[in-house]
């Protein structure tokens, strides 16, 4: 019996150290989540303003013929997938990657019909394991990414659309609902389609001309959409990690309780047996 007890003891100790780690990771994720949410909120004025101006120009007569607004026959689709660099975040990466892979398999027969841009090591490894060529990748982003970190890949995707290499651009990321629920989302960002004019529509003068302003603004707007999706993805990542680690901690606590019970039973059994042996020995001597 003594050997079984030692094993139980060791197993309890190992679960305890796992619990300490998951607990720490949960708390770290919680504090990072708050920061990521703040960053997402701080980025909102920029996106909103840009959207307002773009839609007010695009909806004014004569300038809605811009190639980035028009839908054209789809020959090649680009996907920009936002994943994390590190795992241990529950279904965060698996969900979004499965969604993208299914969509690709459903809609495309040959690899010539799509291109994949990926942000995050997990996504990169996933696609390279499946021999899906990557048109561009960014890994090793910090927890509070800067616009300049993803500017290049976003610009690459948007310019590919402008140059006619791709006929539509999808953004795949985890939409952030709250700390415990994130939804894998596939969103078409290009072509932008019909823009709705804002309520307080101002009649602007454009310098040098409406078309040229639009030429500058539309790619910027598309890049900004990528950036805000990235920020939302970061918040989702920490939310997912926080929930996953919270569950892991809870499970560890439960396992430790069960094991402690088993251990105590085994200990009691050993004591009882020892007493029985002593009593038996004493009786035999009489």
């Amino acid at each position: 019996m003594a050997k079984g007890m030692r094993e139980i003891k060791r197993s309890i100790r190992s679960k305890q150290s796992t619990k300490q780690i998951t607990k720490a990771m949960e708390m770290v994720a919680a504090s990072k989540l708050r920061r990521a949410q703040e960053a997402a909120v701080a980025a909102r004025p920029y996106t909103d303003k840009l959207k307002e101006v773009v839609s007010s120009i695009a909806s004014s007569a004569g300038s809605s013929k811009h190639p980035m607004l028009l839908t054209r026959p789809i020959k090649r689709t680009a996907y920009l997938v936002i994943t994390s660099d590190r795992g241990l975040a529950g279904g965060y990466n698996a969900n979004i990657l499965r969604k993208v892979l299914l969509t690709i398999k459903e809609n495309h027969q040959s690899p010539d019909e799509y291109a994949v841009f990926v942000i995050g090591r997990k996504g990169r490894d996933f696609f390279s394991r499946r021999d899906i060529p990557l048109a561009g990748e960014v890994t090793g982003l910090s927890d509070s990414p800067k616009f300049s970190d993803i500017k290049e890949i976003a610009a690459q995707a948007v310019q590919g659309f402008e140059a006619g290499k791709y006929d539509e651009l999808y953004l795949a990321y985890n939409k952030f609902h709250n700390a415990i629920s994130q939804e894998p989302t596939l969103k078409r960002i290009l072509p932008l389609g019909e823009m709705q004019a804002g309520s307080d529509k101002a009649d602007y003068e454009y310098e040098p001309s409406a078309e040229e302003v639009l030429n500058v603004l539309l790619p910027k707007y598309a890049e900004t959409l990528v950036f805000s999706a990235l920020l939302e993805g970061k918040a989702s990542e920490f939310g997912a990690r926080m929930t996953a680690m919270g569950n892991a901690t809870k499970n560890a606590t439960k396992m430790i309780a069960d094991l402690t019970l088993t251990y105590n039973r085994a200990r009691q059994a050993a004591i009882t047996q020892e007493i029985a042996e002593i009593v038996g020995g004493a009786n035999a001597q009489q």
Binding site: A39, A42, A43, P45, Y46, T47, K49, L50, V53, I57, K146, F147, S148, K151, A202, D203, Y204, E205, Y206, E207, P208, E212, V213, V216, L217, K220, T224, F227, S228
Partner: protein
């Protein structure tokens, strides 16, 4: 003296928000001075310092590209990056300027020459903003 509100916003945060008397920017079509009650206007900007006039003093902000939206009593500048004079690392900007100039002197392929040119403009704009030419 009437004022207008100047806001400078980047994707990461709001860099600047103040009531000023006049804004001077360098648009793609040339230099523009915006006073209160200007007609609504939208223009892309060049990489250059933006001058904000408050009373008798001037404040400079390095704005790297982006565009400006003018309303009756409000000017919003949206840029991918913007820095206030006091946040600028002068020695780094000077190094970047030298590096870009060296690259330009070597006359490499088109793309890197263009990038060097942009880097040079940014560095010059930073140095001007920080008040060191």
């Amino acid at each position: 003296m009437s004022t207008l509100r100047l806001e400078i916003v980047t994707p990461e945060r709001k860099v600047y928000e103040k009531d000023v008397n006049m804004v001077v920017v360098k648009g793609v079509g040339g230099e523009l001075g915006i006073l209160p009650h200007h007609i609504p206007l939208v223009t892309p900007l060049k990489v250059a310092p933006v001058k904000a006039k408050i009373g008798n003093s001037n404040e400079f902000i390095a704005v790297h590209g982006g565009f400006m939206e003018v309303r009756k009593d409000k000017v919003v500048i949206l840029a991918e990056a913007a820095e206030l004079g006091e946040d600028i690392d002068v020695s780094r900007a000077r190094l970047a300027k030298e590096r870009a100039e060296r690259r330009l002197a070597q006359k490499q392929a088109d793309i890197s020459a263009q990038r060097a040119e942009m880097a040079l403009q940014r560095a010059i704009s930073r140095l001007e903003t920080a008040g060191e030419k």
